[in-house]
């Protein structure tokens, strides 16, 4: 019954009146995009997949196991998430970049930090006060922060909303190629249709809390 190619399988999942999914499956190793109007429930879906919240009804399976039975912290370290408006912690850019790694006791050298910054096209000194970054820079720093965690599954909630279109394209291109090269799974909510069309394997449209469309790219 359970296909283990499915990384996530949601069955009759509800979250209050915000989200109602009859069935949703997300395949490992692919880029899955969720598009649709704001307030449609996309962010809620990512939070459910990250287990930051739990559904009020229904089941979410991760690799065939009910999320309820998986330790939340272990799961969040496996399925990392970038929130739409990531919080910038007090301290320097480096402090912020190492925040997640510190929680997870990962040792990360400066080379890894610099290559993560390069990937998100952020050229800022590591000792800069993070609160002095612009909105777009802070967003890219937060993106680099979760890339450093080297998790197998990455959830991105509007990762490029604060970027101009050129930077947006460059950054997303880098992330997608990183994900593909390293055989990771990317699940992304985006407002930009062109990103979904160009980079996703599967595109879901969510509106009013339900899935209203599914497009398999290349078909």
């Amino acid at each position: 019954m359970v296909n283990t190619d499915w990384l996530f399988l949601c069955k009759d999942v509800r979250y209050g009146a915000i989200l109602c999914l009859e069935e949703l499956s997300i395949v490992a190793g692919q880029v899955t995009c969720f598009v649709g109007e704001s307030g449609g429930g996309k962010t809620t879906l990512l939070k459910l997949l990250n287990k930051l919240i739990s559904p009020t009804d229904g089941v979410i399976l991760y690799k065939g196991t009910d999320l309820k039975d998986i330790d939340s912290v272990t799961h969040r370290r496996d399925v990392v998430m970038l929130s739409q408006k990531p919080f910038i912690f007090e301290g320097t850019v480096k402090d912020n970049l190492l925040k997640g790694a510190a929680y997870q006791n990962l040792s990360i050298d400066d080379d890894a930090i610099l290559s993560a910054l390069q990937r998100v096209k952020l050229n800022q000194p590591l000792d800069k006060d993070a609160s002095k970054l612009s909105g777009g820079e802070a967003q890219r720093m937060a993106l680099a922060r979760i890339m450093l965690l080297n998790a197998p599954v990455i959830l991105l909630d509007e990762p490029s909303s604060a970027l101009d279109e050129d930077t947006e394209r460059l950054v997303i291109e880098e992330i997608v190629s990183y994900v593909r090269q390293n055989n990771k799974t990317l699940i992304m909510v985006t407002h930009a249709g062109f990103i979904a069309r160009e980079y996703a394997d599967v595109i879901y449209t969510i509106s009013n809390g339900s899935i209203t469309g599914r497009v398999q790219n290349g078909q």
């Binding site: 919240i53 330790d71 990392v80 998430m81 925040k99 929680y103 922060r145 979760i146 965690l149």
Partner: protein, 263 residues
């Protein structure tokens, strides 16, 4: 104890109420509408102390372990009740439990170490020592825990986004709450620490003053005061540490998710 203390009569003490009259007069003149509170506070303070005087006299005359420990339990329960009152419905059931457990678990050991380990009272339940020392330790633990929990509630309300971001980055609830626990602890012990800094210079502490007034040599009074201050510090710290380290958990559910309200 020396016997050279000047005995006060009720009449002499009554002169002290002149100060209350002056304050009432000022309040009236300035239009500060706090007369009722001041009168109630003055009356309560006077009546409560007179009653406690009678109770203590009776207890000291017929010391019994059961009575001593019952009084300590009543004092602790009253302190817990007072803390609940300060937060006026802002405490969840689980947080109330944490406060009660911490008050007992934090103050009692410190009190026993102080009386049995340092002062080495005889008999072991001597109410003359137990009750006043318990009052000081429990009172300061109550203040410490209130300040600590107040800071914790404030931070959990204001810093939800930060805590959620930490959880998203793979933090355990404990890691996500560490900063809050530290700030709460800081708030809890700072008044005691500041008090210690000024002790003997800015103020002569109440207990020492009392002992000196009743004829105890200042050197003995000082030793008591130092020991009591350390006991107060211990009580306030251990109680708050317990409350904060158990308390943060009430903001998370069993799925290690931040819940909307601490209930």
């Amino acid at each position: 104890m020396g016997s050279d203390i000047i005995q006060l009569t009720y009449g002499q003490v009554a002169i002290g109420y002149v100060f209350v009259m002056i304050i009432l007069f000022i309040m009236k003149r300035r239009g500060i509408s706090r007369e009722k509170e001041l009168i109630i506070a003055t009356l309560r303070m006077s009546i409560q102390l007179v009653l406690v005087g009678f109770v203590l006299t009776a207890v000291f005359e017929r010391p019994h372990p059961l009575i001593t420990f019952s009084i300590i339990t009543i004092m602790l329960s009253f302190a817990i009740h007072t803390i609940y009152g300060k937060f006026r419905g802002n405490l969840s059931r689980s947080l109330k439990k944490v406060i009660a457990v911490s008050m007992f678990g934090g103050s009692l050991p410190v009190l026993l170490v102080f009386l049995w380990g340092i002062v080495r009272v005889q008999p072991y339940y001597n109410p003359q020592y137990f009750i006043p020392i318990a009052g000081m330790i429990i009172g300061n633990s109550m203040t410490g825990i209130s300040l600590g929990i107040h800071t914790m509630i404030k931070r959990f309300t204001q810093n939800r986004v930060e805590i959620e971001e930490s959880l998203i980055l793979g933090a355990t609830p404990k890691q996500a709450s560490d900063g809050i626990i530290n700030d709460g602890f800081d708030a809890a012990i700072m008044p005691t620490v500041n008090n210690m800094l000024g002790m003997g210079i800015i103020s002569l502490p109440g207990m020492m003053t009392g002992q000196i007034l009743s004829g105890v040599a200042p050197t003995t009074a000082i030793l008591y005061q130092i020991a009591v201050m350390l006991g107060i510090l211990g009580g306030a710290s251990i109680t708050s540490y317990l409350a904060l380290n158990l308390g943060y958990k009430t903001w998370f559910n069993n799925q290690q998710q931040l819940i909307q309200t601490a209930s």
